[in-house]
Symmetry: C2
């Protein structure tokens, strides 16, 4: 079904049909004829061809590292909210934590009918930079700092520091065990480097040094957190706090704790902390100390930023840093 066929069936020109579709001038009489034919045939214009002409898709592409994440879903919820209100639709591309596929999908979107791209980033590689510099469509980055695009990120360093301070005070109150930290790759500047550095700084402000053998590396998965925490518990019996770079990892640490306590019933009491304020974790555990970031807000701001560029050609570079809130930090 093409616009031409509809035009022929209705006995008008294709331009008339186009106008009917897009609300241009057209007589009521022809309007009726066209309407009838379209209803009969179930015709639906090709978005495809329309975009080739108009260069406007009313669509934005969002590249995310993974699908199954509360933080990311909160960000996309914020994005979706703004987009829907302004007549845009949203398409997602998940890369499964693979930076190469990230660039692949960025390119896909660039040469696709999207008006703009939002990248929820894990790490900004050289390839990323290259893309950001040369992109034909506007891009905003959420969750990572970069000077190559408009970006909106969270105060991971500050959050880490706050958590470090909390860990120090919990540690002192409980009377001197050791603090452990489960980190993620430092290639991720936000969740990796910034949180860890902040955490160390927070400890240091209380006179505590985080020694290397109390630090473990984990992937962004519960299972990986479980392994990291278990190795810590087995090798270092004097641990009383395990701080984890994400709540997902913290869940694994809690699991490890359960398992470990079965084998060593009267071992030291250990506190697990996280980052991200995962709701499911909060529900089930009653709430561990964690950091609440304004994920939904960053999604909202990010989408607004993008639409400003798309619709008004806003050229001034913008960097937004969003704060955080320490959760369940007072109780213990």
């Amino acid at each position: 079904m093409t616009i031409k066929e509809i035009a022929a069936l209705a006995g008008v020109s294709s331009a008339a049909v186009s106008r009917y579709l897009n609300g241009g001038y057209i007589s009521d009489e022809k309007k009726e004829q066209i309407k009838k034919v379209i209803e009969e045939t179930g015709y639906y214009p090709s978005t495809q061809a329309r975009i080739l002409r108009t260069k406007r898709a009313s669509l934005v592409g969002v590249v995310v590292p993974k699908i199954n994440s509360e933080s990311i879903s909160r960000i996309t919820a914020g994005i979706g909210q703004v987009l829907a209100a302004r007549g845009y639709q949203m398409l997602l591309a998940s890369t499964d934590n693979c930076p190469e596929r990230e660039v692949e999908y960025l390119k896909l979107f660039e040469n696709y009918p999207v008006d703009g791209i939002i990248l929820i980033g894990t790490m900004i590689t050289a390839e990323h930079k290259k893309f950001l510099k040369g992109s034909k469509v506007p891009v905003v980055v959420i969750g990572q700092y970069t000077k190559h695009a408009n970006c909106i990120y969270h105060d991971d360093y500050g959050a880490g520091k706050a958590m470090g301070r909390l860990a120090a005070s919990l540690n002192q109150a409980s009377g001197g065990g050791h603090i452990a930290y489960i980190r993620v790759t430092r290639e991720d500047k936000s969740a990796g480097a910034a949180r860890e550095d902040g955490f160390r700084a927070g400890l240091k402000s209380a006179g505590i040094e985080l020694s290397g053998d109390y630090v473990r590396l984990s992937e962004f998965r519960t299972e990986s957190g479980y392994n990291a925490a278990l190795s810590l518990l087995e090798e270092k019996p004097d641990i009383d706090i395990i701080s984890c770079a994400t709540d997902t990892i913290a869940a694994g640490a809690i699991e490890a704790l359960h398992v470990f306590e079965k084998h060593a019933p009267n071992s030291r009491r250990v506190t697990v902390t996280g980052f991200g304020d995962n709701q499911l974790l909060k529900a089930v555990t009653g709430g561990i100390p964690t950091i609440h970031f304004g994920y939904k807000t960053s999604g909202i701001r990010g989408a607004e930023l993008l639409l400003d560029v798309i619709e008004r050609g806003e050229k001034i570079p913008v960097e937004i840093k969003l704060g955080f809130r320490l959760v369940n930090g007072e109780e213990e």
Copy 2:
């Protein structure tokens, strides 16, 4: 940058460039010239226009009800795996549990450059049926049974029945409290109707009837499960089992239990069960009785089904029902 400009710069025809790009006959000499120009300009052909011509996008669209779900991410992981292996990319559209937006995105994909669509459905409305019948591109439905498209679904009824049996035996072992069920909307034939009906059937096979005032309705959210469970606990002190239609809801029920036990310290011991085998929940709780569905498998099968239709024009309608496994059902 268009193919024409590249052609001009390289001193050849646009057709030559096109052939270069797509591996047609071309002399090494011209190949070199074109290669050079493309590298200099960073030219990238418009996927857009290419698809308008070829009608082939090497892309499939997946419509999902929400992003933040382990079951859905397992399905999309399966889909993505197959697609990647066969040279396709995947785009996601999330509808936030809103059936109307579901149809909207289906239409978007239909008129977009995708070769096929996978719908991970919650409910099949009349609008859905209409779409499935008339769709220009092949569609497969995962997670719901429908006769209007190739579909692949899980044995929710059987799973419900197994859970009902388990609940009955737990109940009898503990000596006669009441069983409660937190359901989801029956408009969702799988997670709603089938699981509930199966659950009732399972109970009945042990001679137990599920009475209406021990049933609550919940949304697909932890918070909603919390509210439902709390109202149950407060109104029915004789409950000893709360079975929930999803693990997400079960997390809320566990939270409610914690809260309730604080107020009523020596209340009856209550077991919470779920469906879906959520890994985070398992980690933190040590594992409640739940059902493991082959979500990843259904994603794999679904993608294979779709590609068969796309690439080989497979016409025979297919319905696949996948089994399940009861998890943590033996311990108690």
